[in-house]
Symmetry: C2
């Protein structure tokens, strides 16, 4: 299958590209926005990553599988149309969004950059597909964060509502906790409008926070490692805690630590995306999956990592700090997530073994840890 990956240089985009390149023709596009933001905010990954083209060359050398790379800004409609015309993709995987919640809350400039980049790429992608390859399956990375933390069970994207004796089905209500997450709500509204108006086919993967740095392909060579961030800008909480445990500084729980989310292993992101590629949404359908394997609170995660870290002699401490975000620290959270399991997802849970192997990998790179970038540098109520 001809697959085009938008945002193919990212933490998830790059391992996805390698994974799918084993059996498909894969093109990746990236504008290096994340690299530029990482440089500007001192938020570079634990293990330096070569350029996208360099990584593709390396991957071909060690695996024999080719990945075509294009560096350019998909917010430019001419580039989007040109690439879709050239590649004639049967599937587009759209990761090309500014993915940091704290960055999107830093100030006007960063908020505007996030809004414009994310909306423009989604809009251009929809139009290029509609105009050039209307049967192409768009797989869009959404986020569980679109839903926020409602007091009712979170269904998979949609909700049947009965009101005053009448019934209808709607998008599940969304109320996100950062501007970044809100841009994904806007993406969903935009995509749903064009799906029902122009009959394109889309799968929206409402993903929870991802952790890990090992995949079958990434493990082939140190230079193929995903961008493993542990800073306050791009680092997800699990990856940040793992690095704190190795660095010998306390795991910094934001506020009460009861904040609960659906998490998944990087390997399961690859499974979920692959299952979506292999089982496309029907024409004229917006199919939505909640993409995570288990729900955990921040305190749960801290305790798990402390337990494993202590058993390895790391002497891990946990410390609550003032929450820089505006979010509920105790809340109901019960999201459905059966769609991807029904397609065949076999979860890799956050077991002690999984945590231990991540910690071991970080220990090897301990000298790279810059502890200045771990504490929150952005406040929601600044």
């Amino acid at each position: 299958m001809r697959i085009l990956i938008l945002g193919g240089d990212g933490y998830l985009g790059w391992p996805t590209a390698m994974n799918l390149a084993v059996e498909n023709e894969v093109w990746v596009v990236d504008n290096y926005l994340r690299r530029r933001i990482a440089e500007a905010t001192d938020s570079e990954p634990l293990i330096a990553t070569p350029s996208l083209t360099e990584r593709a060359r390396l991957f071909e050398a060690v695996s024999g599988n080719r990945i075509e790379t294009i560096i350019g800004d998909l917010g430019d409609p001419d580039l989007m149309y040109d690439i879709v015309q050239r590649v004639q993709p049967e599937c587009i995987i759209h990761y090309a969004e500014q993915p940091s919640a704290p960055y999107s809350m830093r100030g006007f400039k960063e908020a505007r950059e996030t809004l414009q980049n994310n909306l423009n790429v989604t809009f251009n992608c929809i139009w290029a597909v509609k105009d050039i390859v209307p049967d192409c399956h768009i797989i869009k990375l959404g986020t569980m964060g679109e839903y926020g933390t409602p007091n009712i069970d979170i269904e998979e994207g949609w909700l049947d509502i009965e009101h005053k004796g009448r019934k209808d089905k709607f998008l599940f209500p969304r109320a996100a906790g950062s501007l970044y997450h809100t841009t994904k709500v806007l993406d969903t509204d935009l995509i749903w409008f064009y799906v029902r108006t122009y009959g394109i086919r889309v799968t929206d993967l409402m993903q929870g926070p991802v952790y890990g740095l090992s995949t079958d392909e990434a493990d082939l060579d140190q230079g193929l490692v995903p961008n493993f961030n542990y800073d306050d800008i791009f680092g997800t909480v699990v990856n940040r805690f793992l690095v704190q445990a190795v660095a010998g500084i306390p795991l910094t729980v934001y506020g009460g630590g009861g904040q609960t989310r659906g998490y998944l292993n990087l390997r399961d992101t690859l499974q979920c995306v692959r299952l979506s590629v292999e089982n496309p949404a029907d024409k004229g359908t917006l199919r939505i999956f909640n993409q995570f394997t288990e729900t955990l609170s921040v305190n749960d995660i801290a305790t798990k990592i402390k337990t494993v870290g202590d058993s390895m002699g790391l002497g891990v401490n946990i410390k609550s700090i003032e929450n820089p975000r505006k979010e509920r620290e105790e809340h109901y959270y019960n999201p459905t997530h059966t769609g991807l399991l029904d397609l065949g997802l076999e979860p890799n849970y956050m077991t002690d073994d999984v945590i231990a192997s991540m910690l071991e990998r970080i220990v090897v790179n301990k000298d790279n840890i810059n502890t200045d970038r771990i504490m929150p540098r952005v406040r929601w109520n600044a």
Copy 2:
């Protein structure tokens, strides 16, 4: 009160500015986007309107009330910040959006222009208020079209949902029928995020289609008339039917004509906005009103206008044509609209007298009618 009106040159913006200038200090800003689109698409109003500055001069001459005018693009954040800094508004009324559904469905360029203009102005407005005048009350013109035509009663902006024995309150689900209407859904999501995060105060007026060309102030001089459009791009259905009745061409009902919406007289838009100005939303609150006075189907409207037109000897015919839009032609429609009535709205309904006086005004300007611009030139499924 110091009031800043964004989009003050429009069909609603200009009469609002005059109406509020009688008792307040009013500034209006406009980038003439609608004028440029009207020129480019041959969609100019029935009665030519002088420039915004010219109209303000004329209004001051006949009424003694001053309106400050600024021509510029509020999608430019520097201009938005500069104006808000200079004016220090206590209230901002935000009409500055590309308002045509057909224009937004014409092609990529027009869709992109609509998305970017509408989102950027809303975004810049929110930020300028947050940073410079955080107590300022933003009155945002939304649209009843955000809700679409659900099979349940439409509440005023919000919906209490009980699901699997648990309860929460959410934005009422939205599913709009054009890209223009969808940009207003995105506006709502964006505003709601920033209201709950930064504590700004916003009233969102979910307005139905407006008709009419008479207001106390507009009637002072022919040069003060609102931009009365009867074309397929900017003309709302009532205004278009009125002109067709006078021009002696059939009232063109799109499809079955069972499409039902909530309508209101231009005079009632002024009342609703004034009531919102005088009764601001609380800090940290997104207050939403459904702004219309009566629900009517397209067939209802055609019949009303035919009845009055025939009694005036116009000999009105009604003709169904293929629907250029993608919409339900028979559907349930029962929206709540008590909020503005509770504040004191006294409706001017679409009575025979009201229709007759509009027809008489159009008869006087009959020679200006260009019938080439009435039939639909944009199709949703092009």
